[in-house]
């Protein structure tokens, strides 16, 4: 019974004796554990001395290989180790530390791929030229994807997902027959073949901030305009932009960093042919040289709306400057500025001739401008809040408008007669007319089609309930204050495309494997992020209560961060902090692995995430991979490997690729990988769509080093220092006065075993009395105290019981056997 593995309990004596009055170890029950600590977690558990933290910086910023070798470090005593680190602090630079490493993010998908899981920002309807073709609806969502829906009289069928943007899709337009152009908060504009299976043909990275809006000329595919934050507006000639790379020595080469898919066939301006699906993250990216869009320069502030006429001879823009600016898209020069709105301009329309312009603003007004006269000829006070979306009949006789007040109105521009068509549950973000109906996108993930008599708007007015739009913003507000809000003409949409509820709230639990979420429907779910699955659906219950209920007194370093901006969980991994969390194999119930093996959570998660890619890659490279797992393109990495250390412990290489069950991700609804390599900007792709042909340069070097070479960056301190003292008044022998060091995850029962072993070595003891428990003592001679549970880790004791920056002091006493 004494063959206990004392794997890493090193003893080391320090000169100064530990403070004698500090031998307090208060063991508390969970009710006295503060919630503050619960949320803070354990990253602040181990508090290292200044010398130590300085040393850590040094350690990670490149040093001598022998020190970097973790196994050597393991063998060395904590004190010696620390001294070495401090010693080299002076002559190493922090350059490695200072540079921000690329992060790897994975987005967890709960339901199937056929539904949006966040608000819809944009709509586009495709009507095929022939009579027999399907009508298609394109939706772009805050979940970062666009989806195509085949429309029929009785319903809409999911037909493709366009996944490549890594942030909200803000707008989308169809142009030139088959080209779908989308823009996103990831600051890119992407071009897709709208009838493909979701292939991104091209990414334009001209913008430096969120791209908020697009405008395309119906009859001229050479004009697509993109506008965004920071006042950036670019006018793209799609034909030129998508043309094969020409050998131009243009001076603007560096300005345009568009990515070319080398497999893409030359694109004509009438159609974008489908592009091979096998390599669609533009992995073999090259710089598109020679094409730069026209910049419409002169915006002082962010642009939130754009519109162009059918021929693309006029461009109007609006934004926080509160003015409508008119541009010549062929030159990017300003032609006029129209003042009138008193707040952000969120929606714009131009009639086909380019003479009239409609604008919708956060000042709740709709204005009609005559560009020939350069003035506002009508202002319509229809909405009670910001106007976010406009759609007009082809003749520009009527306008449909929606906005923050969740209401959809139809207004006769000439007679100023207005009618409330329907009220939604969410603010309206965009509108698209389709035959006699209108598609309405809201901040919810579902899209609805409403009857609108778009082919003959006056028919709606015949149903009654109309009112005359005022021309001052307060007049409409007054109407609603007086309670005479009009009754909507329609109660039910004619067609619905349902989405799933977006996650809006989350909490990372203390075990750092589970995340509790709440979605827009109020459903509370528990996720296991190392597998990317929902392990419990609690239904509509109190998030806060469940959070309290799931509280666990466990301290594990924060190895990932989470956000929910895409409506689903995005888990972010950064180096080196993501490698700070370890667990024992036994606690993860990994079959066939020695229970004392330490498992690095980030490493196993990365292996699980990239399992598909790794398998395919191995199949491709076959025997080319050297036995030691060196990356073929390791040249770039060689400079960094100095700073790296091999994973300690589980040595055998066959094990390296094995994915343990707690890290197996779903194949049916695989997570999406979002990351950035050494070139080409960030990309997003389903983990199962990675086919192994991707260039290693598309991944952060540290991810490759981890999954291919089994090398982890130098970690945050994984050790915990402590003293072992006999309980006050106890007759137990004193083992040592020195400081001990052990892994932070070491369980108390191991410490007990250590004490027993030490005692037994000195003086054999009665086997019945060696279930030696830890009885921490209080000052003042009180003797009985709660005993530390055997299964808590040193880190947990430190974070929840000790709660002090000083080194932990554990007291022990013998419990007489029965």
């Amino acid at each position: 019974m004494l063959d206990i593995t004392l794997e890493s309990l090193d003893i080391y004596t320090i000169q100064s004796t530990p403070p004698s009055n500090a031998n307090v170890l208060v063991v508390t029950t969970s009710k006295t554990v503060t919630r503050r600590q619960y949320s803070r977690g354990c990253s602040d558990g181990p508090i290292v001395s200044p010398a130590f933290s300085a040393a850590r910086t040094t350690y990670s910023s490149g040093l001598t290989p022998h020190l970097a070798d973790n196994s050597a470090a393991e063998a060395a005593g904590e004190g010696i180790f620390a001294m070495h680190r401090v010693g080299s602090a002076g002559n190493t630079s922090n350059s490695v530390r200072n540079r921000k490493e690329k992060r790897l993010t994975y987005v967890l998908n709960d339901a199937d791929d056929t539904k949006h899981c966040a608000g819809i920002n944009c709509l586009a309807v495709l009507k095929p030229p022939g009579p027999d073709g399907n009508d298609y609806l394109f939706t772009g969502s805050r979940d970062g994807t666009l989806k195509r829906w085949a429309l029929a009289e009785d319903g809409a069928t999911f037909s493709a997902t366009f996944e490549s943007h890594v942030d909200w899709v803000n707008d989308a337009v169809l142009t030139g027959g088959n080209a779908l152009v989308s823009c996103s908060s990831d600051s890119t504009v992407k071009v897709w073949n709208c009838l493909s299976d979701g292939t991104c043909a091209r990414t334009f990275r001209q913008h430096s901030d969120y791209v908020t809006c697009l405008a395309a000329a119906q009859n001229n595919s050479n004009v697509v305009a993109s506008g965004g934050l920071g006042g950036e507006v670019f006018i793209w000639d799609l034909e030129a932009a998508l043309a094969p790379v020409s050998k131009s020595n243009d001076a603007n080469v560096d300005e345009c960093s568009a990515i070319v898919n080398v497999l893409g066939s030359p694109v004509s301006n009438t159609s974008l042919r489908p592009i091979g699906s096998n390599n669609n993250i533009s992995l073999h990216a090259t710089q598109s040289q020679g094409y730069a869009p026209i910049a419409a320069k002169g915006h002082k502030e962010s642009v939130y709306a754009l519109a162009t006429n059918d021929r693309g001879t006029l461009l109007v823009s609006g934004g926080t400057e509160k003015v409508v600016r008119v541009w010549d898209p062929r030159t990017g020069s300003k032609t006029m500025k129209l003042k009138g709105h008193t707040d952000n301009i969120r929606a714009l329309l131009l009639d086909s001739t380019g003479r009239y312009c409609l604008s919708g603003s956060s000042d709740s007004m709709i204005r009609l401008w005559d560009l020939a006269q350069q003035r506002c000829i009508h202002s319509y006070a229809v909405h009670a809040d910001s106007v976010w979306a406009l759609a007009s009949t082809p003749t520009f006789g009527h306008v449909y408008s929606g906005g923050r007040d969740r209401s959809l109105y139809l207004t006769d521009l000439a007679t100023r007669e207005s009618v409330l068509l329907c009220t939604k549950e969410h603010p309206i973000s965009q509108l698209a007319l389709h035959d006699d109906g209108i598609w309405v996108a809201t901040t919810d993930s579902s899209v609805h089609r409403w009857p609108a008599e778009a082919l003959n708007p006056p028919k709606v007015f015949q149903r009654g309930g109309s009112f005359l739009a005022g021309n001052l913003s307060f007049s409409r507000a007054r109407v609603s204050l007086e309670g005479s809000t009009p009754v909507p003409v329609y109660r039910e949409p004619s067609l619905s495309i349902r989405g799933t509820s977006a996650i809006v709230q989350h909490e990372i639990l203390n075990n750092r494997r589970h995340v509790l979420t709440k979605d827009t429907a109020g459903t509370v779910k528990l996720w296991e992020i190392t597998r990317g699955v929902v392990i419990e659906n609690y239904g509509e219950i109190s998030f806060e209560k469940k959070k309290e209920e799931l509280f666990e007194m466990v301290s594990i370093p924060a190895w990932f961060t989470v956000d929910t901006r895409l409506g689903s969980l995005s888990v972010h991994l950064d180096t080196p902090q993501s490698f700070s969390a370890e667990m024992y194999s036994a606690d993860l119930s990994i079959p066939g692995k020695p229970e004392d093996d330490k498992v690095n959570l980030a490493r196993e998660t990365l292996k699980g995430l990239l399992a598909h890619w790794l398998t395919r890659r191995r199949q491709r490279f076959g025997a080319q991979i050297p036995a030691n797992g060196e990356i073929p393109s390791g040249k770039d990495l060689s400079t960094r490997t100095l700073t790296l250390s091999r994973v300690e412990g589980d040595g055998s290489l066959e094990n390296d690729y094995a994915v343990y069950p707690p890290f197996e991700f779903s194949v049916a609804s695989p997570p999406s990988i979002v990351t950035e390599g050494s070139q080409g900007g960030p990309w997003r792709k389903k983990s199962t769509d990675l086919d192994g042909t991707e260039d290693d340069k598309n991944f952060p070097w540290w991810v490759l080093d981890c999954v291919l070479n089994n090398r982890l960056p130098p970690r945050e301190n994984t050790k915990c220092s402590f003293y072992l003292h006999p309980c006050e008044g106890s007759t137990v022998q004193i083992l040592t006065q020195g400081k001990l060091s052990a892994p932070r995850i070491l369980r108390i029962h191991k410490v007990v075993n250590y004490v027993i072993e030490k005692m037994v070595l000195d003086k054999p003891m009665d086997s019945t009395s060696v279930d030696g428990n830890f009885a921490p003592s209080m000052p003042g001679g009180q003797i009985t105290h709660p005993v530390l549970p055997p299964d808590v880790s040193l880190a947990t004791v430190r974070a929840y019981i000790w709660k002090k920056p000083e080194d932990l002091i554990l007291n022990y006493r013998l419990v007489q056997g029965k």
Partner: protein, 368 residues
Amino acid sequence: MVDGVTLTMGVAGSKLEKALGDHFPEGERYFGLENFGNTCYCNSVLQALYFCVPFRKQLLEYYTSNKSQGEADENLLTCLAELFSQVSSQKKKTGVIAPKRFVQRVRKENEVFRGYMHQDAHEFLNFLLNQLVDILEKEPHKVTSENAVNGPSNGHVNGVAKEPLVTWVHKNFQGILTNETRCLRCETVTARDETFLDLSLDIEQNSSISSCLKNFSSTETLNAEDKFFCDKCCSLQEAQKRMKIKKPPRILVIHLKRFKFMEQLNRHKKLSYRVVFPLELKLSNTVENADSEYSLFAVVVHVGSGPNHGHYVSLVKSHNHWLFFDDENVEMVDESAIQTFFGSAQEYSSNTDHGYILFYESPDADDK
């Protein structure tokens, strides 16, 4: 040296008394304060506070009700109360007082003020008011009784002392700002209230307090690298932020940021900009939109061209007379002289006396 000062003071004192003649206000005392080596930052602020009548009244009341306290309980509040009481109970109408105990206490409490270096008067005022608040908050029973005396009850009287204590220092100086942030995407407005004891305003050349206040509550866009995390959007978005005065204080203390940190020089520089401060101020950018009117009653003036040296004096209005306090020295000045402290329109000017901290009182708050 001290004797010399006393001598001139004797003359000045009589001069002041002569100047006021029969108009010398009943019961009022005008005393200079001795300088213990660069303590003008303290003297100038003390004079301004002394002539802040509601504050003085309450401090003297506090002194009367806490007289019994022993030396052991001495703190900044008791020292200040003692000093004010000392001044107000002088037999002579004018003269000089050495605020020795108070200055010693300040130096004991805060090492920043311990040395004999030149100090920032605004920093001192801020420190002093916060210390007074802290001390008052630590003696809840006394505060309750004070509250009972001082007007409408506000919860503590009922024994429900959960909410933060509102001491009489708060009642005089505290106002509430509201910080409104509107996400430009979902247009949700997030409002957050914060309290203040004084307003620090950025200044511009040839401007006025009204325009500085306007700038203070002008809209600021959070954009580019500084976007706002919108809880509703669960993401970073552009946002517009503005500060409004939600509850104007009874005594509005305005600090003009005349000491600007120049990054290229790596040190502070004094801005001698001309900033007009009116005798009567209308506060229009409040949430309630109800204009609050204020009258100027004290100005702490910084004399000198740099931030690390120079001198502090104060201008104080008492019973419709303006007085000039320069440490031991007290003089009468004409109201028209106030404008010489606005600052200069040229960068280099021989006039280096600039209004630095302005004390405004809301007259309508008096009757409550």
